[in-house]
């Protein structure tokens, strides 16, 4: 039967499963509100996870690892923005490029740095320390704070209005004196920084290892959450915790007697089927920013 300890365990696990989804989806919401789509979240998480482990290992400090993971995410966000805004490139194709590059670079990097194939695990001393007295990660609090701040800035400040104008009515925004490319680039960097933190969280906090499948589709689930949340960071938190909880639940089901009835490989499909079902059921009504993913060209 359920007891208090079990419920606490489920809640703690959910906080872990939800945090990377939250960070990546809130980051993507910032970008898409400004008109920049980045489907390379999966790749950014993977590269950031790798870089954060390399730095944490080199400097023997999880703190430097986290900072490095965030920064490399920001650099990729910048690169994507340069292609998408200044060079008028296709957002989706650039994102596919990021994912493909990451899928090649990280397994290469693991072997080049540690001389092992496939995966590398870090010692417990390099993990981000937990909040004293609890089993929670400090990045869990950080991620929720970031989502709240994002919400406030996006909807309660002139900067937020500027940002949203770029994704909604870039032509009007420009005639109001907003520098579209600059604003979009900044938003894309923020997408990268947040997603970079998500990757660092996966690698040197939650899973304490790097594999070539580190994000395991979480980058794409984050994209689904963006739609689910109707481009609102607060709903993004709700969506991330819903999907995170679901993931945990399936983890529990895999250990339960149900595994005698439903073979494990089929249980592995549940989170993806759930994402698909939720996307199909709820999201039909959501309305994206009007100019999201459309390259802004002056006449």
């Amino acid at each position: 039967m359920m007891d208090a300890q079990m419920i606490i365990n489920i809640l703690v696990q959910t906080s872990y499963a939800a945090t990377p989804l939250l960070l990546a989806s809130v980051g993507e919401i910032v970008g898409e509100r400004a008109g920049i789509v980045n489907i390379g979240l999966e790749g950014i998480m993977l590269i950031s996870g790798f870089v954060s482990i390399v730095l944490a290992y080199t400097f023997q400090s999880p703190f430097i690892g986290v900072i490095g993971g965030i920064l490399i995410g920001g650099v990729i966000g910048l690169l994507h923005a340069i292609i998408a805004t200044y060079l008028k490139g296709d957002h989706v194709i650039s994102g596919i490029g990021i994912n493909l590059f990451a899928a090649g670079f990280v397994p290469y990097g693991i072997e080049a740095v540690w001389g092992v194939r496939g995966y590398f695990t870090i010692p417990a001393s390099l993990k981000v320390p937990k909040i004293p007295g609890t089993d929670l990660s400090p990045l869990f609090i950080t991620s929720i704070a970031l989502a709240l701040i994002t919400y406030l800035v996006m909807f309660k400040t002139p900067y937020g209005l500027m940002l949203r104008a770029c994704g909604e009515e870039p032509r009007a925004a420009e005639s109001a004196g907003i520098r579209i490319e600059m604003t979009q680039t900044l938003a894309s960097i923020i997408t990268g920084l947040f997603t970079g933190l998500a990757g660092a969280f996966l690698a040197i906090d939650w899973l304490s290892s790097i594999t070539k499948n580190l994000p395991a589709g979480r980058g794409f689930i984050a994209l689904a959450i963006v739609n689910f949340a109707n481009w609102n960071p607060i709903l993004g938190v709700a969506g991330s915790y819903l999907f995170g909880f679901f993931w945990v639940l399936i983890g529990w089901l895999k250990l339960s007697p149900l595994k005698e009835i439903i073979p494990l490989p089929l249980m592995e499909t549940f989170p993806y089927i759930a994402t698909l079902a939720v996307t199909a059921g709820v999201i039909g009504r959501a309305r994206p920013p009007r100019f999201v993913g459309k390259t802004y060209k002056r006449e």
Binding site: I93, I96, G97, Y108, F220, A224, I283
Partner: protein, 355 residues
């Protein structure tokens, strides 16, 4: 229909720019990856020489390159047709898995010898088309973002195939893989002692058929107009939902062909191996092929050979220079990011004049 009329739509001045841009992108990919190799303590020159030597150096190398190009041609076409319809259907990966499963299902049936190949193709391609239609219907009926839905379907397909491999179609002798396609259900080898099988002929015929469909039939015209401007297409009396859905069907069928042929044609397995390892990546490499070929069916042929050569040569590169074979994926990623930039030649010219 004469050859001349087949090519009358080609715009040669744009083709020239396209070629220059692809060459710049490819060189950038090799250059940046080379720099990464130096950082990792490897010798990039030796790596690239061994890569191209093992991809093109002898008949065996060329055969291996072409055998890798065989499925990539089809998954590349699958993506190209989608892009032409204005959708980013990146589900070829999952469709390949499901088609391979269909072929194995056919192989498990007690059939007259002569019917195996036909049954593999029918069952495999049907499963792939069904798999593609799920995303197609969700897109056209519910407005579900196809990038999200196809990625989810890829994962679902992967685990269904893993389930079937371990629980249903496992081989009693080697339970880590599925049963083998019976000898009479296999496509013949073209060059004995290599991996080059008759699938390459089917791939090339499919390419020309897709070219004709896309540029010389009304369905193809409607798909392309939908992709260029869905609003204009609707005013022009085109059923946008229908042509979007058709693009998913065509893409599914092409990826399905790739999946069936990969298990029924390529030696040595003729089965689905652990973790679908002989199928993983075919769909995603198809994206690279399509984008390098500028989403044009005919240009996809050399693009598939190029990416096939990278794949074939990556093994030799790893053996001779120690560079992990995954590096070729990073090369492809950089090429695609550079190719995302439109009018690269124009930008470079403007930049040179400014200096």
């Amino acid at each position: 229909m004469g050859i001349k009329s087949l090519f009358k739509n080609a715009d040669l001045s744009r083709v020239e720019n396209d070629i220059v841009e692809v060459v710049i992108a490819v060189l950038t990919g090799f250059l940046i990856s080379g720099a990464l190799m130096v950082l990792g303590g490897y010798d990039p020159l030796r790596a690239y020489i061994s890569l191209f030597k093992s991809a093109f150096g002898d008949l065996y190398g060329i055969s291996t390159t072409l055998s890798f190009a065989t499925p990539l041609l089809l998954t590349g076409l699958a993506f190209a047709v989608s892009v032409r319809a204005g959708v980013f259907n990146i589900g070829a990966e999952g469709q390949v898995y499901m088609a391979a499963l269909g072929a194995i299902m056919a192989a498990s049936l007690p059939l007259p010898e002569g019917l195996y190949l036909l049954a593999e193709f029918v069952l495999g391609v049907s499963l792939a088309v069904i798999w593609a239609s799920i995303a197609g219907i969700l897109k056209s009926q519910r407005g579900v973002n196809e990038v999200v839905s196809t990625i989810m379907l890829n994962w679902i397909g992967f685990w269904i195939v893993e389930y079937a491999r371990t629980y249903v179609y496992f081989d009693r002798l080697e339970p880590q893989r599925t049963i083998k396609i019976p000898v009479e259900g296999r496509l013949p080898l073209l060059v004995p002692g290599t991996e080059l099988y008759a699938g390459i002929i089917i791939s090339i015929i499919a390419t020309f058929i897709v070219y004709v469909i896309m540029w010389h039939t009304s369905i193809g015209y409607e798909i392309r107009v939908t992709g260029m401007n869905p609003i204009a297409a609707r005013y022009g009396g085109i059923n946008v939902k229908k042509s979007t859905l058709y693009s998913f069907f065509i893409a599914g069928a092409l990826a399905g062909l790739a999946g069936v042929m990969e298990v029924s044609g390529r030696p040595p397995h003729y089965a689905i191996t652990t973790g679908a390892s002989n199928l993983v990546g075919l769909g995603f490499d198809g994206l690279a092929v399509s984008l390098i070929g500028r989403n044009h069916p005919l240009a996809i042929i050399p693009a598939a050979i190029f990416v096939g050569a990278l794949t074939a040569g990556s093994r030799g590169m790893q053996i001779e220079s120690g560079v992990p074979l995954e590096m070729v994926k990073a090369v492809q990623g950089i090429i695609i990011m550079v190719l995302a930039i439109p009018g690269l030649v124009r930008i470079l010219k403007a930049w040179r004049e400014k200096k």
